[in-house]
């Protein structure tokens, strides 16, 4: 296997997401280096995707709306 056949960064990411074509993915069964890289990449991508989202405080929307200009029929805008 020559270096030219190693997976590119984009291909490694596609494989980690299950989106790489079967013909290119076959390379992983022949190349221990690419396989190790791809596995590490897959684990990292899964960890990142599982990070939790955080909620702002419960009065967040109210505080925002308090500062938004609301158009009125006369054209003036109230805070």
């Amino acid at each position: 296997m020559t270096n030219q056949n190693h997976l590119t960064n984009d291909e490694v990411e596609l494989w980690a997401q299950g989106l790489l074509g079967a013909s290119r993915a076959l390379h992983l069964s022949d190349c221990a280096a690419c396989h190790a890289t791809a596995e590490r990449e897959r684990k990292l991508i899964i960890e990142l995707a599982q990070l939790p989202q955080f909620a702002p405080s419960s009065d967040f929307v109210g505080q925002v709306m308090h500062q938004v200009r609301v158009p009125t029929p006369s054209g003036s805008q109230l805070a």
């Binding site: 984009d10 991508i45 990070l51 989202q53 702002p56 929307v61 925002v64 500062q67 938004v68």
Partner: protein, 170 residues
Amino acid sequence: MRRYERPVFSLIYRMVRDRALAEDLAQETFIKVLNGIQSYKPEFKFSSWIFKIANNAAIDHLRRRQLDTLSLDGSPSAMTPEAMSASAPQLGTGAESPLQEVESRELGGQIDRAIARLRPEYRSCILLRHVEGYSYEEIADILSLPLGTVKTYIHRARNELRVHLDAARE
């Protein structure tokens, strides 16, 4: 707004790592969005537009903070050890406030600590790509960066993250 408040707040929070500040910047983001809705261009994805404003708010803050950073040795104009000591910032006692405890709990995991060590541009890219799930093209739009730069940043960010995580887990 309810649909975007968590993802926008989470992005900013992970960028600045300060809950109260993240809340201020997220508010600033939504106020800009709602007050500037007439300037929204429909050819741009609406969520991308919001994230662009949110990311700009976080990056602007981080740049300002970098400018404001005072050396731990005190003012650069201090000429004597006494003057240096007098102008040096006072460090905390090490005890955490309740809010800091929440922040430690929320952002104290290995992966979040590794993300915090990335430079801000890499942090934005990695969060938008792998936490928010944006495509490379969308990230290039959001960050106003060439597509090739976005790819390079994300690749380097993942490499750096792996290095930090490997070191933390050894």
